[in-house]
């Protein structure tokens, strides 16, 4: 059980809450309290809109312990509209081919479960943005 380890990240996992630097206005995700760009204190929270595009992707066939039930799964680096990059699984792909540059949006899904009586850990994944017909 790693209850508190996951609980304290709920704002990040469920709603992509990061930070904005009051000095250089850089957007920060994951939050880190010190701006990686200018080095100043940055504790102002910032809500990301959850939209971005795919920077790179891969499919994991041999999953690490705890993720076997999801395998194979597609992972991506997503460049968020506001600037930062985030690593996440892609979901709701159906038969859609994934490409670099593809627009995606954040959704909340189950990331992993820890056995029948264990934790269910939810968090962000990303899915393709449906184009209007």
């Amino acid at each position: 059980m790693e209850l508190s380890q996951h609980w304290r990240l709920k704002q990040q996992r469920y709603s992509l809450v990061g930070e904005i630097c009051p000095y250089c206005e850089g957007k920060i995700f994951p939050p880190r309290d010190i701006c990686p760009d200018c080095g100043n204190e940055a504790k102002t929270t910032f809500q990301f809109n959850g939209k971005g595009e795919i920077y790179s992707f891969t499919t994991v066939r041999q999953a690490p312990a705890g993720h076997e039930e999801n395998a194979p799964y597609t992972l991506a680096l997503v460049r968020l509209e506001e600037g930062p990059m985030v690593a996440a699984q892609l979901t709701d792909l159906d038969d859609q081919a994934v490409e670099i540059g593809m627009p995606v949006e954040m959704v909340t899904r189950k990331l992993r479960s820890e056995g029948e009586r264990g934790l269910l850990i939810y968090g962000y994944k990303f899915r393709p943005i449906l184009k209007a017909a």
């Binding site: 790179s56 891969t58 690490p64 699984q89 968090g123």
Partner: protein
């Protein structure tokens, strides 16, 4: 250095002892004053921490100052760096460094989960990311951004296996053909089986000492550490300003060249950390042997072969020699030493005088670079 592979019959103690006994046999007059162990996986896979004391006691050095140095795949280089600093401080005259890793007591997803601890646990591993997935994300972006062909990185695997074929300690001692690479099954696309190194058991040891503590009648060729440099950057791939630049490697190579008062042209061979073939390309670019996006061409045109412009992975590298986690950085330096001592046999780089070794933690959060030269008595 021990052979690399699946040593079902040997524990980490016995692996370490084998490497240490071989190292100390070359300098029996030097008794180490400190003992540093490079290891990353023992707490996760063997439920064993405090390897410093454990192994010191087992190898007959009970009482010595001892500790473990951990920086994921850069542990070996980091331990050598600490040994170098200890000697330079003047408080210690000789240090024994051993890199030892025991991986194969566990299999499959448990090993992958242990390896994933070198990624950012809260923001990468929770998503199911492993070091292989990180490398795959890098490789796909690399091929895309530089318009490189699908088999652009094949040359790194071919070179590693060709060199491993004549290394009796290597895990794989057989050359491969280009068509074997292009037909290999995908591990995590676009990483195929020949892009990824096998993670196995092994150990290597090095005895470092200040020159004046080594007896005049010492009968092995001495090698000098001309530079020792270490840098770090963010652990998570998504936190790198440009994921295709290993900034820690750029910085540690620059620092190493400044220390040694040497430049790229002086380097006769480069033991880089080819945990994945993409990491070899990025390491060559970070060091400056190729410009951004051009590293793969050095493999494609044979520049990295034993008789090429900049030989790499001269004993097979992580791909063919085998990857032993925290021990790799020590193995690389043992290999550079053998090259400078002209003891590399069929793997000898002719007239090797100056060699560089660089190990990386994960996809480069930590980079440690050492430059070694012949020891000239003044």
């Amino acid at each position: 250095m021990t052979p690399l592979g699946e040593h079902w019959d040997l524990s980490i103690r016995e692996l370490a002892l084998e490497a240490i006994s071989a190292a100390r046999a070359e300098a029996p007059q030097v008794r180490p004053e400190a003992f540093y162990v490079a290891n990353m996986l023992a707490p996760a896979l063997s439920r064993q921490s405090q390897l410093g004391a454990l192994l010191a006691d087992f190898v007959g050095l009970r009482g010595i100052e001892a500790m473990t140095v951990e920086a994921a795949g850069a542990s070996g280089g980091a331990a050598l760096r600490q040994a170098y600093l200890a000697l330079k401080s003047g408080m210690i005259q000789s240090v024994l460094v051993v890199g030892a890793e025991k991986v194969t007591d566990r299999v499959g997803s448990e090993v992958d989960a242990a390896l994933a601890t070198m990624t950012d646990t809260d923001y990468e591993a929770i998503q199911g990311i492993t070091p292989t997935a990180q490398a795959a994300l890098l490789m796909r972006r690399y091929l895309h951004e530089y318009h490189a062909p699908q088999d652009a990185l094949a040359g790194f695997s071919l070179n590693a296996h060709a060199n491993g074929a004549s290394n009796p300690l290597a895990m794989f001692q057989k050359a491969i053909r280009p068509e074997q690479y292009s037909k290999a099954p995908m591990v995590s696309d676009p990483i195929n089986m020949f892009d990824a190194s096998p993670i196995v058991d092994g150990a290597a040891a090095i005895l470092l000492a200040c020159r004046d503590t080594i007896p005049a009648n010492h009968d092995h060729p001495l090698v000098k550490i001309a530079a020792s440099a270490m840098s770090s950057t963010a652990v998570a791939l998504h936190d790198q300003p440009d994921p295709l630049v290993i900034s820690s490697a750029v910085s540690s190579v620059q620092k190493a060249f400044e220390q040694a008062k040497l430049s790229l042209e002086d380097i006769d061979l480069f033991e880089l950390h080819d945990s994945f073939s993409i990491m070899a390309a990025l390491s060559l670019e970070a060091a400056g042997f190729a410009s951004k996006g051009e590293g793969w061409k050095l493999a494609a045109d044979g520049a990295i072969a034993l008789d090429g412009k900049i030989p790499i992975c001269t004993f097979g590298g992580s791909k063919a020699r085998g990857e032993a986690g925290g021990a790799t950085g020590v193995m690389q330096v043992v290999e550079v030493v053998r090259q400078l001592q002209a003891l590399a046999g069929k793997n000898q780089v002719s007239n090797a005088k100056i060699g560089m070794a660089q190990c990386l933690g994960g996809i480069g959060a930590t980079a440690v670079t050492h430059i070694l030269t012949h020891f000239k008595d003044h």
